[in-house]
Amino acid sequence: MRRSADDRVFRITTGMFAAIVLLLVIGIGFELWRQSMLSIDKFGFRFWTGRVWDPVSGEFGALPFIWGTLYSSFLALLLSTPIALGIAIYISELSPGMLRQPLAYLTELLAAIPSIVYGLWGVFVLTPIVRKLELLLPESLRRTPFFSGPPLGVGMGMAAIILSIMVIPFTSSVAREILKNVPIAQREAAYALGATRWEAIKVAIGFGKTGIIGAIMLGLGRALGETMAVTMVIGNNPQISPSLYAPQYTMAAVIANEFTEAADDLYLHALIEIGLLLFIITIFVNFISRFFIWTTKQRMERPA
């Protein structure tokens, strides 16, 4: 209907503030790109496939960091997904009503603990424990490429454990919300056909499947960009290895460690290019995740 002048002024003024958020996202992408031009121009695609990272000779290849980021995130999801989904199912479907709120709150508390505290705990408490476990591993397994190398405690496996703990709350809270919103009728239909409780839960999971994949990807987005805790426990050694015992490196960690040491512009631009890639990957992952969650919610709002 007709809009008054006040309404227009209000809309435009508040809209300008809202536009800041939009401009920030565009601005981050643009500035990262602008400040990595030197490296983009010089190395082109070779930057992503090169394995040598040598600031002294001005040779920059980021593959070991990309490997480290992807591999650690993959391992973390492997650990966190069953646990996070188990938590979501337990809280939304199985737990006594009285426990529901406190359990939800406690598991989400994991998300509130600062990354640096995870790192501190990882270094001083978890590393010795993991090292003992590594020593206990049977010799036959130690000969496979996944566990080769000396058991140091720090390394890829340790990073994956810390990361998985850190992403659990993100995945479980979204998955829980999705399960909560699955229409009761879905479950009733399953029970009416004589399903067991678990079979009815499986029907609910099937109904919210896309959204649950979205929840897992949300966790992935977190894992990819996680910095401090990983930097403190992964060993910071740029090598590409499938071994969980091997000290490796991630994109975020190399930025954290070397950014203030970057003496020349090329070095700086190379590091910023890594940041740019991290930015693009996380936007992509988050986009897909939001999209999945959104379509699922959309579907559940319509009466089934």
Binding site: D6, F17, I87, T107, A112, V123, M228, T260
Partner: protein, 282 residues
């Protein structure tokens, strides 16, 4: 064994696994809290709050400058992010279905997912590179960008909880949209918005990565916005990586302080949101 029996047993096993998953997540939580309290609380002393860090390798000293530094950093972040974020949230709540709103909402979600270290790089590029100096301002800016999406979305959500009747009541008395929003709707949601802001502040108070090359850290006392400044998180990082027992002890003390701040704020927030929900029920 009959088929029905097998199905029941599978169901029971699966349900058992879910319960174990909860325990698996609670164990690290309990362990972290236990160690932070055990190592941190016993390491707290008066000097920790009042003294400056000692030179490398010397025992004693405290984190006075880092505590003040963290406060200054989050104050800058709040000053930048709260007005922008709240007004942006108001816009989203007032025009929930417009195309522009859904783009902004999406941008806020994207921003929320950008790794904090990348945001730190951005702050470095726009606030450190041009003046060639690390500064408290650059650190505060990075934290502001990080808390902005939370402020935006909490404001929007809480404003939408305000009953539509209040808006109609104000408009029917001849309020313009602007005055209805600022004199009735926002005040009604204000307690909730404030706690949302507190939670966002608590979150960024725990950030380290984006400060590494913006605020940079400072061994000395500084409260200038244009100079590098110390922060609790960075000091914990520095001390954790050192080889000295006394510094490890102080790192735990710093972690304890951080966790206490964050837990307190999040519990306050939880209680007041519950109160708000009660109030808005008819």
């Amino acid at each position: 064994m009959s088929k029905a029996w097998r199905r029941k047993i599978i169901s029971a096993i699966a349900e058992g696994f879910c319960a174990i998953a909860v325990l698996l997540a609670l164990i690290p939580l309990a362990m972290i809290l236990f160690y932070v309290v055990k190592q941190g609380f016993t390491s707290l002393n008066w000097a920790f709050f009042t003294q400056m860090p000692k030179p490398v390798g010397e025992a004693g000293g405290g984190m006075a400058n880092a505590i003040v530094g963290t406060l200054i950093l989050i104050a800058i972040a709040a000053l930048l992010a709260v007005p922008i974020g709240c007004i942006c949230g108001i816009h989203l709540a007032e025009y929930p279905t417009s195309k522009f709103s859904s783009i902004v909402r999406f941008a806020a979600d994207v921003l929320n997912g950008v790794p904090s270290i990348v945001v730190g790089m951005f702050a470095y590029i726009i606030a450190v590179l041009p003046v060639k100096r690390f500064s408290a301002f650059a650190g505060g800016l990075a934290l502001a960008v990080l808390m902005l999406p939370t402020v935006v979305r909490t404001t929007e959500e809480l404003l939408r909880l305000v009953p539509a009747g209040l808006r109609e009541g104000a408009l029917a008395l001849g309020a313009t949209r602007t005055s209805a929003v600022f004199t009735v709707i926002v005040p009604a949601a204000l307690p909730g918005i404030l706690t949302g802001v507190l939670v966002a502040l608590a979150r960024v108070a725990g950030e380290t990565a984006p400060l590494l090359f913006t605020a940079f850290g400072n061994r000395f006392w500084s409260i200038s916005l244009r100079q590098p400044i110390a922060s609790l998180t960075q000091q914990v990082y520095l001390y954790a990586n050192s080889a000295y027992d006394d510094w490890h002890r102080q790192a735990w003390a710093g972690a304890f302080l951080l966790v206490m701040i964050i837990l307190t704020l999040s519990i306050i927030a939880r209680l007041s949101v519950r109160r708000l929900e009660r109030m808005n029920r008819p």
